[in-house]
Symmetry: D2
Subunit: 346 residues, 4 copies
């Protein structure tokens, strides 16, 4: 930890900070500049709240040296986390990327969901997505089928052999969702719902954590840290677009550089959701391919058997014919990527 | 609702959209431009998902005409909502602004909290703040005293007569928090935790809803709409800073224009939290005064009896001496504002 | 300067950085942590490009300790810069705030401009604003009257005694604008037009520098530094709103905390433009008053004798009647601020 | 154009707007909703300033239907613009993407530049980049070699046959830069320097226009429109990262979705600069490949013969060995893309 003192800080003020740090077991190096003094404190930052140092008189700024996430960091685990499912599907590391496809929300009759699931199976996808509990910006929008939706997903899994990923929105619903899902999704708007992070950390199913729309990469990895810290090592990260200043042509700004950054700083798998990340159907194909070439461990995309009648997110959903075309192109690309050699295209 | 068709949209594509809208009870006006066709659909947008129209072939863009929030809007209620508490404190409308003060989190022994509470009382504050359940970015940070913290707050209320505002983080904890709090706070990171919004909407205690760091004003008012829609009309909005591109000197960008904007579009009271909004102690006084002059119905600020030893947010907390000085200045300003005349300073 | 090495940095890599720094005259302190090594380099950062250190193998991050602006900093000049004009008007320090008012652009006949100028004079304003060269997002919009517009402004100055502030967009036009203006404005979109900054730095007229829509406060002060460094000490800063993620109700996010922040880190005067900062007429009054209470040294606002027919920015311009009402309220507030005592409202 | 009136707008207010629009040649459709009235105005928006309508009493919002750029739009030109150089190099459309490589700034002796140029030639690049005039955030940083630098670039062109792209910062320098450059670059910070846009529009050399760090895609295309409108049809757009809320691991947020969006809305070529777009050397390869797969017409990247001693941007520059490795990987990918078939990877 580095503490930068104000230009006019007094010796007394510097001593106060130094004493406080020493009393918490830090070793101290003092660096006197011409204008300012810099205190380097070496030790475990958990022993003292770095922010609390900001409150000492004479302190201008406190800078962390080490990333504040530990279990999620490359330093704590050099090898990539690879999550393996009973049916042999693997996510992470140098494994072939997975494709998660399905409707935004499970709706009405099961037939539409099955139609999508069979198409996903046919095109080589591994995982079926679908929301039974729906976070909706407006209370006037469709809120999801809840348990009935989970049952539909389970039936689709039985018929196709696809794994199921679905969102949990609240600790109260978690036991129910854990019963049905193969992967439990934490939505972007719940990325810092710490009670929910803690709860899924105590369960055993792999968790897919979506990046919050205003979350820095550091905050994103700290959210994952909450899950790891509570005992669940199987976290899949998902970049799904962040809030930017330009929402004329897209809902969000898809931050693809997050993929190689996260692969540098963490061992956890990272996938990309271009459907939410852009909000536009015509951008799914180019952004999926870009994400894969940038090193993503998978893609999540929305497909609906009848997007014009979808209760949510029709505009960013592919219909089945479009989906098959996009998947053909993605499969061609995946066939060219050498996963044993850092995702080079050969 | 306005639907803008692509320049090359076919007659068939236009007809599809028109038929779909008519079948949902909309009246249609067609506006043929030289390049594009614009469909004006008059009726209740709840009858159709505007976003689903985006998924029709040939549609470029769908624009809402009316704000998507209803109960929170000025159109639905012309008069300001004024929330009145049993002890006579009022929040909203042309009432004198309220000051909420207290530590970020309730910690250790009760003495520190009481010291702050007595100072708040002395300086004319109406409400004591303090977190018993703490949302923390890192799992290694202090997570709150939970029920013990609520008991301390209740004791401080009894001793000072101040009202208590405290955060609830999860539906499971809600009954407990409702038992102790006078105002239940939804934190910024839970602004779109829709299960929690729904739950507080079904309880009777007034709710203070903090703006999410990436929430537009429209999303903020839609989050309030979830609470209103579920039956609780007593919502206090709180602007607490949004994510911006400059975090060198502040934690967040405090969006003070949100105050007069919300007063134009909604009847709900709006207060400002300059402690979280800036993250810097020296900015609390100028930003509090600016907020009051801009028309805020109140201020929430962090005060700690010993900020250097605070478990959270010490850097943005005033100590008691500083707090008294800031409050003296704020009280002087409040004494100059003519609340019966639109907050003019006279 | 602090250089943080990667966790796996080798001794050779650390030595390379240290040697490089020593050869440029820096004193070095090495801080070995358990995981990472931190190099503290004490000396003048101008001797080495901090960014170039980033390129050494094994370097994770380079952090500056001192602000990179010097002449603009409080450290280089403790006393506030106060700019005094021949007619006695002063800007900065503890002086009474100045009001700059006038149309966005000078247009058509001089009568409209004069009408505004007389109203500004009547209401106690000190400075007339008006654009003769207009930066316009679209080439199809009105581009300004150029020299004719400058002549109108000069005539209005002669008739009212107001000072004139007007924008220069290009080094080629600078001699002309310097001939007419009392204050030369650099627009937000030219904040990092370094050739223009250098050029106005070599002239003698005071410069009003508007903050770029994506400029951090540090970049803003560095832009001012270009002017100071080239010889012109009379720089007035102007906060005019930054790009944010919410442009539904405002054009920009007005960053009022920038006022007290800049007053802490710099001695230069800082004023606020709520017209561009919000883009909405009804927000000018509350945001002007908030800016003044937050410590702004002045306000710039747009007034047009006939906003409905304005060639630019009508929506954010007050008409003369509205302007007089707003100014009455502002004057009342200014009368209450004690400038000899840190802008307290008494 | 769509004008949305306030809920309480009077008939007189509606009539005022309608009369104003009719007098400017617009056809009017009135759409009366239950709460608000919407005026659809059909005609050429250049006949009236849409923003000026905002200033009418009773107007809530003015929405454009057509994009405000015309010459840059797909509607005005269906076929892609392909820029062809005398030596046969082509940029745009379905042509093989071009690679622009070279140092951030031309420095010291010519040998380093030549070393980079020969490597670029060897690896199949078409264009040499290098700055002779340097926009620098701080006045204390290296400002460029000016004409001497241009001479070096010309010599490198002569020796390698590469085309030269270099930045112009000011209208005064334009004749000089036009003498030496094959492509004249407008830097990100000058994207809305309208005098400069107008000036390069009147010259004949192709222009590479970089996106401003806070520019929306619409503003970006409007900046291009200034060049096209002044007579120069050869504009290459360059995405180079935008300001975001997270600058911990990157300088900017690279907005790759801008590539397919711009290809939908405009016929102009669009390239990507991952060096500035991320600021980190290790991100150049994955982001370059992602950009190409997303459909970019080219890549611009920084290469320096000795990045540790670079006067600018060393951290984001590849050294020659790294560059050759990255280019080998990029060439492999380019060899797999079918440009006659929408950039599919086969």
């Amino acid at each position: 930890m580095i503490i930068i003192m104000e230009p006019g800080a007094t010796k007394q003020q510097i001593d106060n900070v130094v004493e406080h740090l020493k009393s918490h077991g830090f070793r101290i190096n003092l660096n006197y500049g011409d204008v300012m003094t810099v205190i380097a404190a070496i030790g475990d930052k958990r022993l003292v709240q770095p922010h609390s140092l900001n409150s000492f008189e004479g302190v201008r700024e406190v800078k962390l040296i080490q990333e504040p996430f530990k279990l999620a960091s490359r330093e704590s685990q050099k090898e990539d986390t690879v999550i393996e499912f009973p049916n042999g599907v693997k996510i992470g590391g140098l494994e072939r990327p997975v494709i998660m496809a399905g409707p935004c929300s499970v709706e009405r009759e099961i037939d539409g969901l099955l139609e999508v699931a069979y198409a996903a199976k046919e095109m080589g996808c591994q995982i079926l997505r679908g929301g039974a509990f729906k976070p909706r910006t407006s209370p006037y929008d469709f809120q999801g089928m809840e348990e009935k939706g989970l049952q539909y997903l389970a039936e689709a899994r039985e018929k196709t052999g696809l794994l199921v990923v679905t969102e949990v929105m609240d600790t109260l619903d978690l036991p129910l969702v854990e019963d049905y899902a193969d992967i439990v999704q934490i939505g972007a708007r719940n990325m810092q719902n710490f009670k929910l992070l803690k709860a899924v950390g105590k369960y055993s199913k792999p968790v897919m954590l979506k990046r919050g729309p205003a979350a820095t990469i550091r905050e994103f990895l700290l959210a994952a840290e909450h899950i790891l810290y509570n005992g669940n090592p199987n976290v899949i990260l998902c970049e799904r677009g962040i809030k930017g200043f330009d929402s004329t042509y897209t809902r969000n700004t898809l931050d693809l550089a997050a993929v190689p950054i996260i692969k540098k700083y963490s061992h956890l798998p990272i996938i990309v959701d271009p459907s939410h990340g852009t909000g536009k159907r015509y951008l799914i194909e180019p952004m999926s391919k870009a994400a894969l070439v940038a090193g993503a461990h998978g893609i999540m995309m929305e497909v609906h058997h009848d997007p014009d009648r979808a209760y949510s997110d029709g505009a960013q959903s592919l219909n089945i014919e479009q989906f098959k075309k996009v998947m053909a192109s993605i499969n061609q690309l995946i066939g060219r990527i050498d996963y044993s050699n850092k995702h080079a295209v050969v």
